[in-house]
């Protein structure tokens, strides 16, 4: 193992090592020195109160932005731009990587795309199938037939299985299709600089104004090629049908993304996103051997442009499916696996540190700051629920007679109670905001579901442990032990996406 590979391996161990170190350290400390453990827990509790209030305020601000820009005629905004901005020459390349999703998933996504308030002749659709999917050609033919003439171009690509250097990931398929699209653009003589590429999950339904909004931000950005464009993902497609457990998690995920959109210095692409095709080609496309292609592509841009690369938040939603199954346990499993896949984004850390080591043009301060942000966010993800839900009570459990006679033994539950009340207060805000992003209640769904939507928030403490920290710790442990994950599609309702 050479020095670079060794360093990368060490960086794979660091996040999991830190998370396990914190958890086990606090457990051991609770036994051998409960007072110090209690002090650390109280510090963390207080930090969490402050953090929750801060993040909820950001959520309110982001939510306000989202609603202020709702129903905005973005196409009109583009048309009002000076001709020199080049809107008329701009193309939208839309890639839908398909794993083994069927027509019931793909059709609504393409229907939403076809209803876009955007010149259709400027939309190039690429349906990126996997060759190993036996139904791929048949599905492609049906969709081409159904949607013929609805877009500027409709390409179907078939990613061969088992190419050298590739893993079975979404990124490998997306990259293959982007290369195929590049050939098409070359043939058509379309300048890459005039193409914005959007890579959408197969179940992504865009809002009508999405491409207008994207084009406007692209054309008005100072350095449009040095940015990724991130819409706000919501899981509204089947939210009224999904069970409480899954719905709650997905609403929380949307809110987390809204919060992240306010923290530009940390904001990284997630799930469905868009970027300049020129940049995509320059950075060498999406990674073909990593699961978290959606965030790695951002880091590739960041390294390529020596740190002068950012994510521009688009306050417009793209809607996806809530992942669930036909019973609670299966839903928990589906959600668990999905969150573990998201948490596998920790693989970005060794990738980024390695990239920073090779790049001499990014300032050390920026390298340290970004590495720390990345590491801190993943470690916090893996430990916070453990500390709040489990470890917080261990000093009382293991403290013994001596600890039970100390003042801190009485104050620890008091402060934990204070944390709970604050969390409840912020939960009320989250409940209210979750109502406002819901799509209209479909016919046949009882109004009682609204009541359930409120009550289900009280399950939060139980849910956070299941899909909060454990999947993240699982992912980090796998990376730590070099048991690399492979891409698995997530079961979403009766569909597979």
């Amino acid at each position: 193992m050479n020095k670079r590979a060794f360093l990368r391996r060490v960086m794979e161990i660091v996040p999991g090592g830190l998370s396990w170190g914190i958890i086990l350290g606090l457990i051991i400390l609770s036994i051998i020195h409960p007072v110090i453990s209690a002090l650390i827990i109280i510090t963390f509790d207080f930090y969490w109160i402050i953090r929750t209030i801060y993040l909820t305020t950001l959520l309110i601000m982001a939510h306000q932005r989202l609603f202020r820009q709702k129903n905005k005629d973005w196409l009109q905004c583009c048309l009002e731009l000076p001709a020199i901005q080049g809107f008329s020459a701009l193309y939208q390349l839309v890639i839908f990587p398909v794993y083994n999703e069927g027509l019931e998933v793909l059709r609504p996504s393409l229907e939403a795309l076809s209803k876009s308030h955007y010149p259709k002749e400027k939309i190039i659709l690429v349906m990126a199938f996997e060759e190993r999917n036996l139904l791929a050609h048949e599905t492609a033919a049906i969709l081409e037939n159904e949607f013929t003439g609805k877009f500027g171009a409709h390409l179907s690509t078939f990613h061969p299985d088992g190419l050298a250097g590739e893993a079975r990931t979404k990124g490998a398929n997306a990259t293959w299709s982007a290369r195929e699209a590049k050939k098409f653009l070359d043939m058509q003589g379309i300048d890459y600089e005039k193409v914005i590429v959007s890579c959408f999950d197969a179940d992504t339904c865009v809002e009508a104004e999405y491409f207008g909004c994207l084009a406007y931000h692209f054309l008005t950005s100072a350095k449009p090629h040095q940015a990724s464009y991130q819409p706000m993902p919501v899981y509204n497609n089947n939210i009224w049908q999904a069970p409480s457990f899954a719905r709650l998690i997905e609403i929380s995920s949307s809110f987390c993304q809204l919060i992240e959109s306010m923290r530009l210095e940390k904001f990284v692409t997630f799930s469905s996103h868009s970027m300049s095709f020129k940049t995509l080609v320059e950075v060498g496309y999406w990674p073909t051997n990593m699961i978290s292609d959606d965030s790695v592509i951002y880091w590739k841009g960041y390294l390529h442009y020596n740190g002068d690369y950012r994510v521009v938040p688009l306050y417009i939603t793209v809607s996806m499916d809530v992942a669930y199954s036909n019973n609670l346990w299966k839903t928990i499993l589906v959600q668990y696996k999905q969150k573990r896949r998201w948490a596998w984004g920790v693989e970005n850390f060794p990738f980024v540190v390695d990239g920073f080591m090779q790049n001499k043009n990014i300032s050390l301060l920026n390298k340290l700051r970004r590495s720390f942000h990345l590491l801190e966010s993943h470690v916090t993800w893996a430990v916070w629920a453990f500390i709040l839900v489990v470890i917080g009570y261990l000093p009382l459990l293991f403290g013994g007679v001596f600890f039970s006679q100390t003042a801190i033994a009485y104050n620890l539950p008091k402060i934990a109670g204070l944390l709970f009340r604050f969390t409840l207060l912020t939960s009320l805000t989250w409940i209210f905001l979750s109502w406002t992003i819901l799509p209209p209640r479909p016919k046949g769904i009882s109004w009682l579901k609204h009541v359930l939507l409120v009550l289900e928030w009280f399950f939060v403490p139980f849910i956070i442990l299941i899909v909060g920290s454990i999947p993240a710790l699982d992912a980090q442990s796998r990376l730590m032990m070099a048991k690399y994950m492979e891409f698995n599609s997530t079961l979403k309702g009766n569909k597979v996406v």
Binding site: A38, L39, I42, T43, F46, Y47, I50, R51, I53, Y54, T57, L58, M61, R65, M262, R263, L264, S404, Q405, T406, A407, I408, A409, Y410, N411, L412, I415
Partner: protein
């Protein structure tokens, strides 16, 4: 967006400041320190934890009413001795002292506040001399030696009724016990046991009138109903006997006793009899032994063993 980012930065640094400014106070509070704004110094304090049964009582600290009600902890107390008074309406107050040590909690968590006027309810409707409670069947039996009547009621005093009459000339009752079948009881004095059957027990086959068992030569110490509610275990000053509750029954001597005033317990469920008796060591000094007699197996074996031991 720029404005939002400015507000966000402001919020971030505000939160950060709040965290670092608040943390010393939070940790100090947790450890029991009290901040004095006049001297700008922290003083290490202790606390008193008060828990009462029932809760919701007012707490007085050195004569001053606190805002808290039990269960509560009184924080930020400078080390020293404090007078604590606890009051709850319609209950006896509790008073005491608590010594507070710095950084420690003084626990007053075993306080029971007893009601001022307990729920006192008279259960008997007739006068009586002694009573017996059967918690299993939820009956109270009352025995009146003046009128020679036995009464019975439920545990609330309801369904009070007389259920048996005792023989008129039977005096100096030492003890009595209702049989497990709840159809009869025995009374005994030093030389006689009488089994009395309750009224209206038509299905009771073998006797209606009282059964007298005489012990002219021995002194009866204690009597138990055997588990079948028919035999009696009788402790006399000489023997442990078992005898049927019928007229002219002959007792079986289970154990010969050395000690006159033996103490005994009978477990009717397991059919086990525990009793104490004397033995003498080689120096002639008496000492007590405690025995268990399993009446569900052959008692003769034990008798033989004890005889051997005595020899």
């Amino acid at each position: 967006m720029l404005n939002f980012q400015k507000i966000r930065s402001l919020l971030f640094y505000l939160s950060l400041s709040l965290f670092f400014a608040g943390l010393p106070f939070i940790l100090s509070f947790a450890l029991g320190y009290k901040f004095n704004p006049h001297t700008l110094k922290f003083t290490k304090t202790g606390l008193i934890f008060v828990k009462t049964q029932p809760d919701g009582a007012k707490v007085y600290l050195n004569g001053k009413l606190t805002a808290e009600k039990t269960p509560t902890s009184l924080h930020e107390l400078v080390p020293g001795t404090y007078k604590i008074a606890i009051e709850l309406k319609q209950h006896y107050p509790w008073k005491g002292e608590a010594y507070v040590e710095a950084g420690k909690a003084c626990r007053l968590d075993k306080i029971i506040l007893f009601p001022l006027r307990p729920n006192l309810l008279q259960l008997n409707q007739e006068k009586f001399s002694s009573f017996h409670i059967d918690f299993e069947k939820k009956f109270i039996y009352y025995l009146d030696q003046e009128t020679n009547v036995v009464y019975r009621s439920n545990l609330e005093g309801g369904n009070f009724e007389d259920i048996a009459s005792l023989p008129e000339k039977f005096t100096s009752i030492v003890g009595w016990q209702v049989a497990d079948d709840k159809n009869k009881l025995f009374i005994f004095n030093q030389h006689q046991i009488v089994v009395v059957f309750f009224d209206n027990q038509a299905d009771y086959g073998y006797a209606d009138s009282a059964v007298f068992l005489d012990y002219p030569q021995e002194k009866i110490i204690n009597v138990f109903w055997y588990a079948d509610s028919y035999h009696l275990i009788v402790f006399t000053d000489k023997y442990i006997q078992i005898i049927e509750s019928r007229t002219q029954a002959h007792p079986i001597n289970l154990v010969k006793l050395n000690k006159e005033a033996t103490v005994a317990f009978y477990d009717s469920k397991e059919n086990l009899l525990y009793f104490s008796d004397n033995q003498k060591n080689i120096n002639g000094r008496a000492y007590n032994n405690l025995y268990k007699l399993d009446l569900s197996s052959s008692p003769v074996l034990l008798e033989k063993l004890m005889k051997k031991d005595n020899e």
